[in-house]
C-alpha cells in the first residue's frame, strides 16, 4: 500500500523508505578544511562557528522533485554525515558499518581512501573520543568494559534539547540583534567573564549569519530550478519555495508553510553543527503551528489538505535523516536508525489550559498515514485533554506499531517543577528522545549513560569481583555467605551502587568539561535560552536549566533478585545463600528445584504484590537518593530516569544467571517493565506495581505493554485502553505505550523476514522495523508478556 495523503508524499515517502542509508564524507571534508584554515588562529568557539559557516556555505543543496520543504543533513536523503571531531572512525569501523547485517551504512571505496588519507591523519588524536579515553580513569574504563554503565558522549555530543516557540516569533536577523545588544552591554570593567562572553557571542553571531546564508543558497537554487522548470505547477511551487527561503530563516515565518520550513532549517543547522543525541525536535509543534494554520486557512492561502501534506513532507524529512552511525558499545545501547526526534502533541498551554487544537488532529492523521520510524510521535495527555483526542490517539496506537506513545502532562509538569523550573517553562516542556523530561528551548538535559542496576547486585554477591571481565571492579563488601540478614545484603548493595555511581559521575564531570572547553555548540546555543543572555555556550552551562540524567536499567530484575533473596533465604528459609549462589554459578543446571522456586514460586514485581513492590521502591529510592541533586559541571544537577533504548539486551549479555531465575546472558526487561513472564496478573497489576515507583522524582520512566489484537477490538477495546491510560496517569505514571500484535506474527516474521518488511514494533521509547532488530532483541519482544484474557 502506498502511504501518503497525496501522490507527492507517496513518492517522497517511497524514496525515503527504499533508499539504503549511506555514509557521506562531505561534512568530514568540509570541517577538516575549516580546521586546517582556522585552528590556532582564533578562539575555539569562533573556530567552531567558522567551521559551521564553512559547512553551511559549501554543503551540497538538494531539492527532490516534488519537495515542498527543503534541506538535508547530507548531500541527499539518507546520506549520513560523519563527525570526526567527535568520533574518528577507523577503516575497520567503516568496514563494519558497510557489512553489518543490521543498521548498516553503505560506504563507497573512494571514501575509504579519503578517510585513510585525509580524515584519520588529522582527527585521530584530535577527536573528543580519544580525549575522553585519555582523561578518564582506569577504573572508569574497567567498569565501562564490564557493562556497568555506558557512556553517551564518547561518540556523540550532548543534546537532548528541543525547540520552543521563539523561532516562530523571531528570525535569525532578530537573533543577531539580540546578540549585538548583549555584546554592547558587556561590562569589561567588572565582569571577569567579559572576554569569554564576547567570544561566545561573536561565535553565536557567526552561526546566525551561516544559517541565513544557507537559506539564501536554497532561495537561489529554487529560483534557478524554477527558471528551468517546464511544468507550470511545479514552477509555481519552486517559486513559492524560493519565497519561503527568502523569508526564513533570516526573518520570522509569515505563513504555515514558512513556519514548517523555518523549523526544518534549524533542525538541519543543529544536527549539522554536531551529532547531538536525539537530534532536535520541534517540541509542541501543534501549538506552534496553530496561529499560522488559523491565519492561512481563514485567508484561503491553504486548505486543511495542504496543511496536512506539508506535515507529511516534514515527516519524510525526519525519516530522511538516520541517526549518525554508531559503533561498539554505543551501537549496542542504541542499535537503531532512529534519531529520536520526538514530537509532543496535545498537553497544555503556557497558561495551563488544554493545548489540543486542530493541528493536533492533523498530526495524528499524519503519523497514522506516514507510519514512519521517524519522527517518534507521542501525545501528551493531561486531565484537561478532551476524551476525543485520547480516543483518536488510541485508534492510531491500536494499529499496533507503537505510535503514538502516551505521556502524562500533569506528571511531567510536576517533575519539572520539582527540578526547579518555573511553572510556565514546565507547562511548555515535555518528553523527548524516548521519555526524557525537559523544559523545551530552555534546558540542556543530557543523558549521560545507562546504568546496569542488577549487574551491581551480581557483583555484590561476588564480593566486588566481576566474572565477565575477570576483574575486581567493585568494593570488597564481604563474602555473601557471611551475611546474616537481608538488610546486610541490601546495605552492601548500596555501598557498591554508590561506588559505581561515583565512578560514573567523576567520568561525566571530566567529559562535560572536555565538551565545555573543546566543543562548544554556538548554533545550538542561539536556540537555547539563556545562552545569549549569559554569553555562555550550551556545553558550558549557558542554558537556563542544566540537568544531567543517569538512566537506570533493569529495575524489574534487581527487584525480583532482592525479593528472591529476602523471601527464599531469609524470610521463608527455603534455601541457603550457598545453595542459591551455587545455582546461579551453574546457570541453574542441576538446580532445577531452586530454579522452580525462584522462578515460579517467589513474589515478583509486576503483580501488585507489596512484598516485591516494596523492594522495588526501596531500590528505586536508593538509586534516586544516591544520584539526585549531585552537582554537574554546568551549574545544574543530576537526576535519574528509567529507560533502556536497546541497552537492556546488552546489559543482560554481560551478566551471568540471576537469583530470580533469569538465565545467563538473557536480556533485562525494558524500562520499568516486569521481568519476562513475571507478571501473571494482567495489565492492571503491572500498572499498579509500576505506579508504586515515585515517577515524579524522575525525569522519565518507560512502560511498555503488549496486547493481543483481540483485546483491543472495537469500541470496547478503545474504552479499555483509554481506561488503562487514564488510570495509570491518575496514579502518576509518566509514560505508557502499546505493542498490539500477535506473538505468532512476530515468530512468523522472524522466520520469514522478507515477508514482513513493513512490520514495525515498539522497542523501548521508540518504534523500529522488526527486521532491523538483532535476534536477541527480537526474541525479547516476542517473550514480553502478552496481556490477554483467559
Amino acid at each position: 500500500m502506498e502511504r501518503g495523503f497525496t501522490k507527492r508524499t507517496q513518492k517522497l515517502r517511497n524514496e525515503s523508505v527504499s533508499t539504503k542509508p549511506n555514509i557521506s564524507m562531505e561534512r568530514s571534508i568540509l570541517i577538516t578544511e575549516a580546521y586546517k584554515k582556522y585552528e590556532g588562529t582564533v578562539d575555539i568557539p569562533i573556530l567552531r562557528a567558522l567551521t559551521f559557516r564553512h559547512l553551511m556555505e559549501n554543503k551540497k543543496l538538494h531539492i527532490s522533485s516534488g519537495d515542498l520543504i527543503v534541506g538535508e543533513k547530507g548531500p541527499s536523503p539518507l546520506s549520513v554525515p560523519t563527525y570526526p571531531e567527535l568520533c574518528c572512525h577507523t577503516l575497520d569501523d567503516l568496514d563494519v558499518m558497510n557489512n553489518r547485517e543490521r543498521i548498516g551504512f553503505e560506504v563507497v571505496k573512494d571514501d575509504l581512501k579519503i578517510q585513510e588519507e585525509i580524515i584519520i591523519p588529522f582527527w585521530e588524536k584530535r577527536s573528543i573520543r580519544s580525549k575522553i579515553f585519555e582523561h578518564v580513569s582506569d577504573e572508569w574504563k574497567d567498569c565501562y568494559h564490564a557493562g556497568i554503565f555506558t557512556e553517551f558522549m564518547e561518540q556523540r555530543s550532548p543534546g537532548h534539547t528541543v525547540a520552543d516557540g521563539k523561532i516562530y516569533e523571531k528570525g535569525f536577523s532578530d537573533f543577531i540583534a539580540d546578540i549585538d545588544n548583549e555584546i554592547v552591554s558587556i561590562d569589561y570593567k567588572n565582569d571577569r567573564r567579559a572576554l569569554d562572553r564576547k567570544v561566545q557571542l561573536n561565535a553565536m553571531r557567526i552561526t546566525c549569519e551561516a544559517i541565513i546564508s544557507y537559506g539564501k543558497r536554497y532561495y537561489e537554487l529554487a529560483i534557478s530550478m524554477a527558471n528551468n522548470e517546464k511544468n507550470p505547477e511545479r514552477k509555481e511551487e519552486l517559486l513559492k519555495i524560493a519565497e519561503n527561503c527568502k523569508t526564513v530563516p533570516a526573518n520570522k515565518p509569515k505563513s504555515y508553510w514558512q513556519a514548517v520550513q523555518m523549523y526544518w532549517f534549524i533542525h538541519i543547522g543543529v544536527t549539522s553543527e554536531l551529532n547531538n543525541w536525539d537530534a532536535y525536535s520541534p517540541g509542541r509543534l501543534d501549538q506552534h503551528l496553530i496561529p499560522f494554520y488559523n491565519q492561512d486557512t481563514e485567508s484561503g492561502e491553504i486548505g486543511r489538505g495542504k496543511a496536512r501534506e506539508l506535515l507529511e513532507c516534514l515527516w519524510i524529512k525526519f525519516n530522511n535523516q538516520p541517526a549518525p552511525p554508531k559503533v561498539g558499545i554505543t551501537l549496542k545501547e542504541s542499535a537503531t536508525y532512529t534519531d529520536f526526534a520526538n514530537i509532543n502533541t496535545g498537553g497544555i498551554k503556557k497558561d495551563g489550559s488544554n493545548g489540543v487544537n486542530e493541528v493536533s488532529y492533523l498530526i495524528l492523521e499524519t503519523m497514522d498515514e506516514m507510519k514512519l520510524l521517524q519522527p517518534s510521535s507521542n501525545v501528551q495527555i493531561s486531565k484537561k485533554t478532551p476524551n476525543n483526542f485520547l480516543r483518536k490517539a488510541l485508534e492510531v496506537s491500536r494499529k499496533g506499531w507503537g505510535q503514538p506513545a502516551f505521556y502524562n502532562t500533569d506528571v511531567i509538569v510536576q517533575e519539572l517543577i520539582l527540578a526547579g523550573k518555573e511553572i510556565r517553562d514546565a507547562r511548555q516542556g515535555g518528553a523527548s528522545g524516548c521519555v526524557e523530561t525537559g523544559a523545551f528551548g530552555k534546558e540542556a538535559y543530557i543523558l549521560t549513560g545507562y546504568f546496569n542496576l542488577p549487574k551491581i547486585l551480581e557483583i555484590t554477591l561476588n564480593n566486588g569481583f566481576d566474572d565477565y571481565s575477570s576483574r575486581q571492579i567493585g568494593l570488597k563488601t564481604g563474602e555473601v555467605t557471611d551475611f546474616k540478614s537481608y538488610e546486610e545484603i541490601l546495605s552492601a548493595y548500596e555501598k557498591q551502587l554508590k561506588h559505581f555511581i561515583d565512578i560514573k559521575i567523576i567520568g561525566n564531570n571530566i567529559i562535560e568539561r572536555i565538551y565545555g572547553k573543546q566543543m562548544p555548540a554556538p548554533f545550538l546555543s542561539v536556540m537555547t535560552d539563556d545562552c545569549i543572555k549569559r554569553g555562555m555556550d550550551y556545553n558550558e552551562g549557558g542554558a537556563r536549566y542544566n540537568t544531567s540524567y543517569l538512566q537506570g536499567v533493569g529495575i524489574g530484575t534487581i527487584t525480583d533478585c532482592l525479593t528472591s533473596i529476602k523471601y527464599n533465604v531469609f524470610d521463608e528459609k527455603k534455601i541457603t545463600m550457598e545453595e542459591l549462589i551455587s545455582a546461579i554459578n551453574s546457570n541453574f543446571e542441576g538446580h532445577e528445584n531452586i530454579y522452580n522456586l525462584v522462578k515460579h514460586k517467589t513474589p515478583k514485581y509486576g503483580n501488585d504484590d507489596d512484598y516485591a513492590d516494596n523492594i522495588m521502591k526501596s531500590v528505586f529510592d536508593m538509586y534516586h537518593r544516591l544520584v539526585t541533586n549531585r552537582p554537574n559541571m554546568k551549574g545544574g544537577t543530576y537526576r535519574i530516569n528509567m529507560l533502556p533504548t536497546t541497552c537492556h539486551i546488552y546489559f543482560g549479555s554481560v551478566m551471568k544467571a540471576s537469583v530470580n531465575g533469569r538465565l545467563s546472558g538473557k536480556p533485562l526487561p525494558d524500562g520499568i517493565s516486569p521481568e519476562k513472564g513475571a507478571d501473571v496478573n494482567g495489565p492492571t497489576s503491572v500498572i499498579k506495581s509500576a505506579s508504586k515507583m515515585d515517577h515524579i522524582n524522575t525525569g522519565g520512566t518507560l512502560l511498555n505493554q503488549k496486547f493481543s489484537p483481540s483485546i483491543v477490538e472495537g469500541e470496547k477495546g478503545i474504552n479499555n485502553l483509554a481506561s488503562l491510560v487514564k488510570s495509570y496517569f491518575a496514579l502518576d505514571g509518566h509514560h505508557i505505550q502499546f505493542n498490539i500484535i500477535d506473538k505468532k506474527v512476530l515468530m512468523e516474521a522472524q522466520k520469514n523476514p522478507d515477508d514482513y518488511n513493513d512490520l514495525i514494533v515498539r522497542v523501548a521509547g521508540y518504534s523500529d522495523h522488526f527486521n532491523n532488530l538483532e535476534k536477541a532483541l527480537q526474541d525479547e519482544i516476542i517473550e514480553r508478556t502478552d496481556q490477554k484474557f483467559n
Binding site: 530454579y595 514460586k601 495489565p683 492492571t684 470496547k716 474504552n719 488510570s727 484474557f789
Partner: protein, 300 residues
Amino acid sequence: MKYNKNLIFNIQKFSIYDGPGIRTTIFYKGCPLSCSWCHNPESKKSVPEILTKDQNCKGCGSCLNSCPVNKLYINNGRVCSVKDIECKGCGKCADCCINSARELAGKEYNLNDLVGLIESDQIFYDESGGGVTFSGGEPLLQIDSLEKLAHKCKMHGIHVAVDTSGQVPFEYFERIIPHADLFLYDIKIMDLKSHKLHTGVSNNLIIENLKKLSLNKAKVWLRLPVIDDLNNNDKHIDSVLKLLCSINIDQINILPYHDMAIGKATITDRVEKFKTPSDHFINHMQKRFQDNGYKTIIGG
C-alpha cells in the same frame, strides 16, 4: 455449606468479558451443574483438588514425599495416584512440583483479603465503569460468605455483578439482591430433557428463579451459550423468546462455544469435545433477538 470461608479457584484481573468495563472476576469453586461442555471443569467440586498436566510431568518424584496420605507413586516415568486414597487437597505436591505439572485448584480466602484484592483495582473500575464479578462454579452456593463480601464491595462503591447458573434456592438470590448491581444469568438449553442430559439437572428451578429475579426488578444480562448440534437451532431461540415475554432483561450476550478449555489442566477426562457454532448461525441468532427489540451482543 461446608466452607465458611470463600473457596476460590481463580481470580482474574483485567477481566473484560464478564460485565461492563474492566473487572475483577472471582471464580468460586463448586457447581450444582455438570455441563458436558464446561470450560472450567475444576470448578465443579466444592473442595480443593489437584489438577495435573501429565505432559509436563518428568517423573522426577519431587512430590512423592510431600503427600501426607501417600497417594503418589511413580509408574512409567510419571507420577500417578493411588485411586483408593482420598486426596486432602493440601496442595503440597503442587508446591514442590518443578515442572508445573501439578496445580492446586481451590484456595480458601478470608473476607478481608478478598476485599483487598478486589479493591486494589478500584481505580480501573472507576475509569472504565467496571467492578467485580462473582462467577464460578456457582458463587451463590457459598451464599454465607458471598453475601458478606458483596455487601462490603457495595459499601466501597464497587459495582457488583453475579454470574450465576440459577440452580440454587431462590432465598439465596433474595440475600444477594440488595448487594448486586447486575446478574449475568445463564440459560443453557430450553429443552428440559436435553438440559438434564447435558447438565445433569432439570432447568425448572433455573427458569423459575429467573422469573422471580425479574419480579424483584433485578438488572439481568441473559447469557446464552451456543454449542453446535446442541442448541444452535431456531426452536431454542423461539423458546428463549417465549420466556422473555414474561420477564425483563437488560441485554442478551450470545456466547459461542469455543474449545479453549481443551488442553487446560484437567482432573479427569470430564471435558467432551464440542464444536463451535457457525458465524452464520450466531449472526442469525443475534438478528432474531435484535428484531425482537433486545440489545444483543456477541461475546461477553
